[in-house]
Symmetry: D2
């Protein structure tokens, strides 16, 4: 199956290149009679929009989402929802100098090797611009999940600098340009990232996403496990190199006693005494918070010249100008939230189908 769709019952197909006329997606499988407006979607897309601080790309895109189908008189009809976002500030000329060079760390070489052709302008299809449509899809997924489910993300590390989890404050996340839940660390990051930016360099990051209110029972073992689907959805975000659930890689160092979340009863319901599992056991949600983290590598587009080769096989150097995020991890926060929203909406429908 071709690779531009994800989800089984809540199914998203995206299309578009960074510097083409538009990008968009088709969302199939949405239940009918859900109230939905363009503003509902725009709210979330705006959170990912570029140019909102000096720490993200200066490309100016309104990122206005238009609904072309699937909504009638303010409600979903159950038919496919087509969304479109026009590309406005595509300065393709910025890329002309380097169109025959493979930018290290980018997909230039692999697209060329695979397809024998590529739209080099702004990275074409491999540009993170495509993720705007994921965030749009995530907005609809949230509608399906309903108000009882809350999905929130935060940046917990930039470069080598981690937050202090003891200072975690969800309210802080909306207060700084980093989605950082630790105000003190956010201030330190500002200085650090200004230095990175001025040096023409870039930094990586780690994002944590938490989904609360997810009912127990979602997930389709053995090969549609909730954590496996989350892992794929996050690893598939541009520049992501690692994914973990709950205790994650730290689980390897725990003892069996420390790792197994004990259970008690609390007002007639099962209550877990810890959440090393990150809300998923055997691929199925436990009803606890689902906790996922993912690592984003530093932006590959940097000003420092790097050694590379051309399409013709000549050795050369490259320094990437264009307009870039010094830390793409920042804008990955709303993307990570959106991907998890989509996975959960899909599994809600899948669970209803089999066990409903």
């Amino acid at each position: 199956m071709a690779g531009n769709s994800f989800g089984t019952l809540f199914r998203v197909t995206t299309w578009g290149e960074s510097h083409g006329p538009a990008i968009g997606c088709v969302i199939d499988g949405t239940p009918p009679r859900i109230p939905l407006s363009e503003a509902d979607i725009q709210h979330w897309v705006d959170r990912r929009r570029p140019g909102q601080s000096r720490f993200t790309t200066q490309r100016r895109e309104a990122d206005s989402v238009k609904i072309l189908s699937g909504v009638f008189e303010g409600q979903t009809t159950g038919t496919p929802i087509s969304l479109i976002i026009e590309n406005e500030d595509a300065r393709s000329k910025d890329y002309d100098d380097n169109k025959d060079k493979f930018r290290p760390g980018h997909a230039d070489y692999t697209y060329w090797t695979k397809y024998g052709i590529r739209d080099h302008r702004g990275g074409g299809r491999s540009s993170a611009r495509e993720t705007a449509t994921r965030v749009a899809a995530g907005a609809i997924a949230r509608k399906i999940l309903g108000p009882a489910v809350t999905i929130r993300g935060a940046l917990i590390q930039i470069g080598p600098h981690r937050i202090d989890r003891a200072r975690w404050d969800w309210a802080a996340v909306e207060d700084n340009p980093f989605w950082c839940p630790d105000r003190q660390t956010a201030q330190q990051w500002e200085g650090f990232l200004d230095g990175v930016r001025k040096a023409g360099s870039s930094a990586g990051a780690v994002i944590e996403v938490m989904a609360s209110g997810v009912p127990a029972g979602l997930g389709a073992p053995i090969y549609g496990k909730l954590d496996a689907d989350i892992a794929a959805s996050l690893m598939g975000i541009n520049a992501v190199k690692g994914v973990e659930i709950g205790a994650g890689f730290g689980a390897a160092a725990l003892s069996g006693e420390e790792n197994a979340d004990e259970m008690r009863m609390d007002r007639g319901k099962v209550a877990f005494l810890s959440n090393q599992a990150g809300g998923i056991l055997g691929g199925i949600s436990t009803g606890q918070d689902i906790v996922a983290r993912f690592a984003v590598k530093p932006t590959s587009s940097i000003l420092t010249p790097r050694r590379t080769v051309t399409i013709a096989g000549a050795e050369t150097e490259i320094a990437t100008k264009g307009r870039h995020d010094p830390c793409v991890g920042i804008r990955a926060v709303p993307i990570g939230e959106a991907m998890i929203a989509c996975v959960l909406a899909d599994h809600l429908l899948r669970h209803r189908a089999q066990c409903g």
Copy 2:
């Protein structure tokens, strides 16, 4: 789509419970005219077989694989290959005492919540016994990939104890009961794990799998990326809590300069000067070694009593007897290799379909 199949063109469907009459799988999409015998498959399945050292479960299973279809006169015919492994040493009575209790860290509670019924004997469908069929499927995947592709795994951490990568020796991997590439660390692990075992406790682990000889160009962006499919395939192995590719979580702390793998020409071919990417850029293989790591939590079945609840909602304690691996991560090595073999075989066929 129901959750017991994986792969798109090389498609594996598994079935069976830990203590049912048998387990098995159906493998669809194998190219025709590939020589294949039961012995070819048995070779790999034997590597995962229990009871081969004191560090794995003492359950005695021959794990004999039988081919029921899809092979004629020693060659694949292109029709589905049905494999079956009979369950021989299923001591279901070991589980009777605890059949109404939810074992912490296990899938007991979530299966019960999802389905309202579960085969409690030996964990039923959620038992790692199911992974024997994945290893069998992986053997066929290796045949499709051919001898130019080598997929090898190693254990690089048990509990808090990591190997010294400077001592990495692939030859060592076959020499110790841990698939450890560092002989010195392997000896230390022996003492550590004996202690864990005698204490009735358990330990986690980290596994690294490397695939060499993979051609550049495999992977289906945007939502069938090679790394995303690897992430799902590894996260879907029992007890896995984290997955990373190349520099992984460490990439977050690198600078853009350090992270981007530079390129030169070497005898007419593109050569990368480093492999932070782990062999994948933009979701497509670069031709370098593909490097993936995954973390396995400690075995949840431990002798120390833990607090839990019963199906009826009563608080109780549980100590899991049965026969268990003190570190399930050990036997995860051949499973991780098999999953990556299956993902690569699938993408080889997918690439051939689109790009011929």
Copy 3:
């Protein structure tokens, strides 16, 4: 996607060759807690079993179905159900003479051309023997649909001889070896088919299947229409060359006035005054009886020598001995019922997922 699975949420994967050790299927997506025994399945498989009259093949197969997984203490668990039927009376030697010749009307030539290898014994994978597993799957589909849905098939034409629909009596269907709803025609067929059989020839047939009690609303437009899925499921049965729904090909000759089924209210519910639509409009069930018909070509294995060629490209003749049905359409009745049961069960789950 490889071709040995069908259905989206109720998903059946079949495997096995006519003269291999066994045939079987894996059924994924069955809702949990449905009572299910081997006898429940055997009941339906027996209706398709060969050797029950002189008008079907004399191959002696008990066709005993064994459940290998997915059922615990008499109930489905929601995990995959693996079914196996052993091949007992496979006389492969009957086929040795013709193993290098392509039997006209059979799949010999196309399998050979596609795969470059084929299991020639009894037709291998292309044998109608595979359909026993479909009937087994259909038995489980009927359980999902529940007792309110009735799916019944009947033979309405053998060779050029059609039934008289005015004499249609469902009770008659179980009374004769043809599943014929018209007793008088059944008697005529007996003479006709004896003649065909003695001449070593064969005859085609038309089957009608009716599903009653299907709720309105099943079907996934635009490309998962209920009628499109039924068409695929019936056309995919061995030897089928045509499928129609409701008025079918006859609809072409109707006027718009005759064709459009008018509606009135009847005790508070919508009642249609006719059923030209065959119970499906816009790809969605109307709540009326679903009526489908399919045409089966004459058995290709005949005693009269026919011109053909060998694998090596030599011209030759062939007369097919073996044990064959003079009219394969007869045993297609339970198969057609089973396919429609599977399609309906799948759409019931799909509908519940989206609109549930």
Copy 4:
């Protein structure tokens, strides 16, 4: 899986309503480096365009296709191709009078029952307007198949009036407003259909599509058979009630001797002496012409008042004004061709994947 996509490797997802701002589709899986322009697609879409004779709807739509992605410098890039067609002449007011009534023979009642909401304007999603995007997709499918494959359709029956096959002339097809291969019959149809149109009635039709030059070996048995996929693709076209391949329903009346296509050698290649099979055996193409036919019911929108009910459950009558085709079968010819082109392109890629 939601129902608005079809194909496995050549995968088409369509969206849009009859009276929304636009309709469109996303085509995923196209091989890279195929020359493709908007004009290439427009050529085929124009053949389906309304208003080209008095025998089709008078709705005036330019049906201009725009490519929004997936093509770079005149070639496909292997990324998804997004196509959009704006709706220009949508007179939604024509439908206001009847918005609460279920039009007999239309999908009004079933959409309402399934979704509880529907875009009534011009039939919304269930309008045949959606098929313009299929024809656009078919144009790309033809490019994949290449010039050696020719797919041509013809109308062979309108109402009760069939062509005389002895007069079949492919050149005639482009000469008359019916795509009729028999000039003499085309003239008779003109009178017949004028009568139907003036009476405010409608007529059904039968279409035949032939694909020549298709290589042997395409088709994925058992459940992705080429004929089963063709059957689904044709039955899924609006108003289709029957599909047949080769001898079709006529095969039921043939003897085994008549039905089995004999084989001889011709200049070193296998040559069939007849084509009752319609180019497909065992679900795999034989290399002969693929011949498929499908029946289209009369247009359900007629001027004669018919009995029906309202959303509120009141009995009423309806006469459909709007602008309608007296025989929707005419415009089904290019749609049928397109669907078969898409199925063949998909199977070409599938075959290459497994056997390539």
